[in-house]
């Protein structure tokens, strides 16, 4: 369970992360907006609560691994890492600039604290599966795989998009994860129903997505991906499943936090201009008129 005060803290953190996303995209002048905003709550819950990690020791051997497969939503990864102390928030303004560590799609050679590079869709899950298999050579699985159990137990998270599941390689990886019963693998699918050309169910239908994963021997959690309490609780449930991999189908609202952007697939691959960014940041700072932010 997660305390009410902690949820409040994480919600505020997610809001700060969203503000940074808008600022960095505005300065960059290009990049993806909808996905990063939609996934801010998942990233915040992971880095703020669920992950075993230490921003001061990014190469700590015992850390959980987080693989971002759909690299184009990296503004949310960079912003979250900055807000949780991996590097200074002001560096976010270098996104997509020449010589920046924050490449347009993540590159581990530029920013070694990343677990991998990504961008071309469909290969992140394979890498997470590989990490998990390699880890098993040293650390054979032993139930229960939950925090407080075996302290050297690592969890391997793969964050991916729904449109990305069009790529066949994912299903190769899903077959392998199911075969190997990778209990410490947790996939989180950003189920926002949009991709570049339109709605996922028009482009290449994925439903029934939960049944598909179940057929491949996955444990499935289907949640509201913009609700921190639900996200955390789903992760805890997945951690307790030791004999099969898990997937969290996180139903998110693309562009979440800014009404004008929400659910509009046109915001998939473009950045806000100055006027749009100003409006968006204003809306985020007063949480849609609900509260006044102390951000100023």
């Amino acid at each position: 369970m997660i305390e009410e005060s902690e949820i409040k803290y994480l919600e505020n953190k997610a809001n700060d992360i969203r503000i940074s996303i808008i600022e960095m995209l505005q300065i960059a002048g290009s990049g993806h907006t909808a996905g990063p905003l939609g996934m801010a709550d998942v990233f915040t819950t992971l880095y703020g609560k669920a992950l075993k990690h230490d921003p001061k020791k990014p190469f700590w051997e015992e850390r959980d691994r987080l693989v971002l497969s759909n690299g184009h939503i990296c503004p949310v990864l960079y912003s979250t890492m900055a807000h949780f102390g991996y590097f200074e928030v002001k560096e976010l303004k270098t996104l997509r600039k020449f010589k920046s560590r924050l490449q347009g799609h993540p590159h581990r050679e530029f920013l070694p604290m990343l677990e991998t590079s990504s961008g071309p869709l469909g290969s992140g899950l394979s890498q997470a599966v590989g990490m998990c298999l390699a880890d098993r050579i040293q650390t054979p699985p032993s139930p229960p795989l939950i925090k407080g159990g075996n302290s050297s137990q690592k969890f391997f998270y793969c964050l991916m998009s729904d449109g990305e599941l069009n790529e066949g390689q994912n299903w190769e990886a899903i077959m392998l994860a199911g075969k190997k019963q990778l209990g410490n693998l947790i996939c989180i699918v950003d189920r926002n129903n949009i991709q570049i050309d339109g709605f996922t169910e028009n482009i290449m239908p994925l439903e029934p997505l939960d049944k598909k994963f179940e057929a491949f021997n996955f444990h499935v959690e289907d949640i509201n991906g913009n609700n921190i309490s639900e996200i955390y609780s789903a992760i805890q449930k997945c951690k307790a499943v030791f004999n099969k991999p898990s997937v969290i189908i996180a139903r998110t609202i693309p562009g979440r936090g800014i009404k004008e952007f929400e659910r509009d697939f046109h915001w998939h691959g473009k950045a806000p201009n100055n006027e749009e960014a100003e409006m968006a940041i204003k809306e985020l700072r007063n949480l849609g008129g609900k509260i006044e932010s102390d951000h100023n």
């Binding site: 992140g124 394979s126 599966v129 298999l133 390689q169």
Partner: protein
């Protein structure tokens, strides 16, 4: 000159062991596994064919069956390498690196992790399976990738040494293997070092070579042959006949296509002036192209004549290895006639 090379040159082929490079690789992988616990092996449903059985039996915990899924295999290996392993991924060259090139590029080379891609059954010599299974583009595909090392062993013994050597580096690497048995021309004592090509034969200065022609003396005709894979042995088969025609020759076994051995290429070009490149691969983008790039970059092209032998803008087809080497003009007969035409003897 080692005993094997002497036997090949003198046509004593019955004294030469015929072993497939994939078999040598299997032995090398086993040695690599014994030497280093970080070595793991992944295979896409071809474990016996690519001779990974020995490794699998010795280290069952470090062997992973991936099924027929080469794209996944490449990226799974990348994830394993990120966790400190040295994964060998094995399939037929047509599928890995043929099918999974982008995964190799993005998840292996772009991350610069030590995954070793093993492409077996390369070239037309795989034979009856036909053109779909004959990788003739893999050297080009791999050598173009930043960080990637490309090795094409000339025989089974060199394949064994190469497997061990690439397991000792932190670079992404490509090892090209062939299905059919081929002559073993190297010996245990021969040094194998990645990036250091071996001059395996040179006409000795005492053995000729000015032939009197009527009144005058013909200038010495020289040819440097640079080859990889089985084409090295095929080049050796031409030595006697060419020397009988008064030709002085050197043969370079260019087992590492990348990084290329610039010094040896310089040596061959300055000594022989005529360079013939021979490979079981498309001439476009392969070993010969790499040599031409090296010559051009070092401002040596003006001094040498170059001819490239290999498959020319065609796909393969069914047949025996010998039929196909003849069809694609990459056997000893064609090496011989290409040397003669280069030197304007015919």
């Amino acid at each position: 000159m080692n005993k094997n090379i002497e036997n090949i040159i003198n046509g004593r082929m019955k004294d030469i062991a015929m072993i497939a490079t994939r078999s040598g690789f299997g032995d090398g992988l086993l040695l690599a596994g014994k030497e280093n616990k970080r070595v793991v092996a992944l295979c896409a449903d071809l474990t016996e064919s690519i001779q990974i059985e020995k490794f699998k039996t010795a280290f069952p915990d470090r062997y992973f069956e991936m099924g027929v899924a080469e794209q996944n295999m490449a990226s799974v290996a990348s994830g394993m390498a990120a966790m400190g392993k040295i994964p060998f991924i094995a399939s037929y060259a047509m599928f890995s690196p043929g099918r999974n090139w982008e995964q190799i590029r993005t998840t292996i080379c772009y991350n610069n992790v030590p995954v070793k891609v093993v492409g077996a059954h390369a070239g037309v010599s795989v034979g009856p399976d036909g053109g779909t299974h004959q990788a003739l583009e893999d050297i080009g595909l791999m050598r173009m990738l930043p960080n990637m090392v490309v090795v094409v062993p000339c025989d089974a013994l060199e394949a064994k040494k190469a497997a061990l050597e690439i397991s000792r580096t932190e670079n992404p690497s490509y090892l090209r293997l062939f299905r059919e048995k081929s002559p073993v021309l190297t010996v245990d004592e021969d040094l194998f070092e990645i990036g250091k090509a071996n001059i395996i034969y040179e006409t000795s200065s005492t053995s000729s070579l000015s032939i009197e022609e009527g009144k005058g003396v013909r200038p010495v005709l020289k040819i440097g042959i640079i080859a990889c894979g089985e084409m090295v042995a095929r080049s050796l088969l031409c030595v006697k006949g060419l020397e009988d025609k008064g030709i002085e020759l050197g043969i370079l076994n260019l087992h590492t296509i990348k990084p290329i051995d610039v010094e040896k290429i310089k040596y061959m070009s300055s000594k022989y002036k005529n360079i013939l490149t021979v490979e079981e691969h498309q001439v476009a983008g392969g070993m010969g192209s790499a040599i031409l790039e090296c010559l051009a970059e070092n401002n040596l092209l003006g001094n040498v004549k170059v001819k490239m032998m290999g498959v020319k803008n065609r796909f393969g087809q069914s047949g025996t290895k010998e039929e196909l080497y003849e069809e694609y003009e990459i056997n000893e007969k064609h090496i011989f006639s290409n040397v003669l035409s280069m030197l304007e003897i015919i």
